[in-house]
């Protein structure tokens, strides 16, 4: 079953009508092609119009859409010969962070993603993509492994944020995130980060302090969720839409602010309408970002990455 978002209702109704027409006409052998194509065209126009001017809050919902391809779908679609690696070597394996070795367009890479699952069972299994310290320690271990063997690192970020739990705090959530960011900064190999859904705060930057940060058109990237921001600053979680607006969390805004290097266009109607096309678009963008970095020596790469972050947020933005 397809999930429709609130603002997609008119499109859902049109598509429902088309389905119904088709169903009714089949046994009767009626010629309804004209009617169907008219309706399809209308639905298509509606979809384009809606998705051309999504508000930041609508984009937040699209970014969290249950049918949107998740990190493991990107790994499956873009990485061949994938060998998942597990564990932080200290406490546990964290299923919220997935990663391992594989090939991206023939080249050996380390791939890491935050996986939030796409049905109740997988969501629970991956803790809704919210990692504990062992997840960030696993990420750090994989980043260091990549460095040791000179393998580029690709990350797929999609998380509401680090898991807020007693156990996570007791095992040093803050330290684990800080070390994971530091591992990104120190990697002597290219690190390309793709924000594919929700880039939630510290849990996102833990995997995204790279040489290039790519962002899907309807993904979001923020220091706090719109709901969290609204409940603190507006004292009303229902103001999430206003908070989403104020936070400038869309790919377009972040690109304009020079915090994101490239916005990757999504299929009409969002990545969830055509996951395969979205995955391939991300693959193309990753390849384009990776290519110029491949010949750069480790120390030069690190120096460049450090300078990039030192300069970031320094200049007033026009």
């Amino acid at each position: 079953m397809r999930h429709f978002l609130d603002f997609e209702k008119p499109i859902a109704e049109l598509e429902g009508k088309i389905d119904e027409l088709r169903r009714m006409s089949e046994p009767e052998g009626l010629n309804i092609e004209d009617e169907v194509s008219k309706l399809t065209e209308k639905a298509d126009r509606q979809l384009r119009a809606t998705y051309a001017k999504l508000t930041p809050w609508q984009k937040t919902q699209v970014a969290r859409h249950p049918d949107r391809p998740k990190a493991l779908a990107y790994i499956a679609g873009l990485i061949t010969d994938y060998i998942p690696l597990a564990g932080d070597r200290a406490f546990a394996d964290d299923a919220a962070v997935q990663g391992g070795l594989g090939r991206f367009r023939g080249r050996s890479v380390v791939v890491i993603g935050t996986e939030r699952g796409n049905d109740t069972e997988t969501r629970v299994a991956h803790n809704f993509g919210m990692a504990r310290p062992e997840g960030y320690r696993k990420a750090r271990r994989l980043i260091e492994l990549a460095g040791r063997f000179g393998l580029p690192i690709l990350t797929f970020v999609d998380t509401a944020g680090a898991f807020p739990g007693v156990d996570a705090e007791a095992r040093g959530q803050a330290e684990a995130i800080a070390r994971s960011i530091e591992a990104c900064i120190d990697a002597p190999v290219p690190l390309i980060a793709a924000i594919i859904g929700e880039g939630g705060s510290g849990g996102a930057i833990a995997l995204a302090a790279g040489d290039a940060v790519l962002m899907l058109e309807h993904a979001i990237y923020s220091v706090i969720s719109p709901e969290g921001c609204a409940s603190i600053l507006w004292r009303d979680a229902a103001q999430a839409s206003a908070a989403a607006e104020a936070l400038h969390l869309t790919a377009e805004d972040l690109h304009r602010l020079h915090l994101v290097d490239q916005v990757i266009a999504e299929p009409i109607g969002g990545a969830h309408r055509d996951p395969e096309a979205a995955i391939q678009a991300v693959g193309e963008a990753v390849q384009a970002a990776l290519e110029p970095l491949l010949g750069v020596e480790g120390p030069a790469l690190k120096a460049r990455r450090r300078e990039r972050f030192l300069q970031m947020t320094r200049e007033p933005i026009g």
Partner: protein, 284 residues
């Protein structure tokens, strides 16, 4: 040329620090509820003489308690103000203005250089009184400046944290201060200089999850609240009341996150000893 040549000069204002006389000469300890005469409290470094509770301190107090007399506060590099034109019930630019007027500070941090028991040191202190000590571009920029100053002066960098986390009004710009302040800590470490973090009440969120967890030595004041996620968020997630000691300095020490919990009255001496042991390696 850069901020170092341009801005490293004493802030005249701080040479004549005015000491606010409290309207109320008595202050109540938030822990034991005892009333304390304010001069007694100041003399006791704002530690309750009855129960030992460490009250929050201003950055001026902090610098005075840590550095020898005659230290110099530096002018901080400028950061873009209100890059998002953020507005909730109030405009961020107005909140900034109010915080500046109320505290006399430019942003939620001060940086000074001087000596600690005659040994050179750069000290950065976060100001919780300035928008909850939240970390935006100005704080990030100040910590990078502090790191560069430490290298220039061949001095350790000691950071006193007091921060509710990232500054929401700067959106993803504030998030980017996490990698940026981590780079600041690396600049100090790569120069072979000690980077010491003193976590004070409260230190949470993005501040904790960046430079504040990467000290060569991690110290906290007694009873300080230190964590990543806020207690309320955790309570909503796990649906149970959290114990009092959760996320307190002593809890973190027990869980291996800190090297030590040090009383305010012993902090300066401890910092001096640590710096001496790390840097004066040959027998005297």
């Amino acid at each position: 040329m850069n901020w170092l040549t341009e801005y490293v000069r004493p802030k005249i204002r701080t040479l004549f620090t005015r000491r606010d006389v409290p309207d109320n000469l008595w202050q109540q300890c938030p822990n034991c509820q005892q009333m304390i005469f304010h001069t007694d409290l100041e003399k006791n470094l704002r530690v309750c003489p009855h129960c030992g509770h460490h009250m929050r301190a201003t950055v001026t107090d902090r610098l005075g308690w840590t550095l020898d007399e005659g230290y110099t506060r530096i002018e901080l590099p400028k950061a873009p103000a209100d890059p998002l034109k953020f507005r909730d019930s109030k405009r961020y630019i107005d909140r900034l203005k109010e915080a500046r007027e109320a505290t006399g500070l430019e942003d939620a941090i001060v940086v000074a250089h001087g000596t600690i028991e005659q040994r050179p040191a750069v000290v950065a202190a976060m100001a919780f009184e300035f928008m909850g000590g939240s970390m935006g571009a100005a704080v990030g920029e100040a910590l990078i400046a502090a790191a560069q100053l430490a290298v220039l002066q061949d001095a350790p960098l000691i950071v006193f944290t007091a921060s509710g986390g990232a500054r929401m009004q700067e959106g993803t710009i504030s998030l980017m201060q996490m990698p940026r302040t981590i780079i600041a800590s690396q600049i100090v470490k790569e120069a072979g200089l000690p980077f010491i973090v003193v976590l004070t009440d409260p230190t949470t969120g993005g501040t904790t999850a960046s430079f504040a967890m990467l000290g060569d030595v991690q110290i906290a004041e007694p009873g300080a609240l230190i964590g990543f996620a806020g207690a309320r968020v955790i309570e909503q997630t796990v649906r149970e009341k959290l114990p009092d000691e959760f996320q307190r300095a002593e809890y973190l020490l027990e869980h291996g996150v800190l090297d030590m919990v040090v009383k305010r009255s012993e902090m300066k001496a401890m910092l001096a000893r640590l710096v001496a042991l790390l840097r004066e390696k040959e027998p005297a």
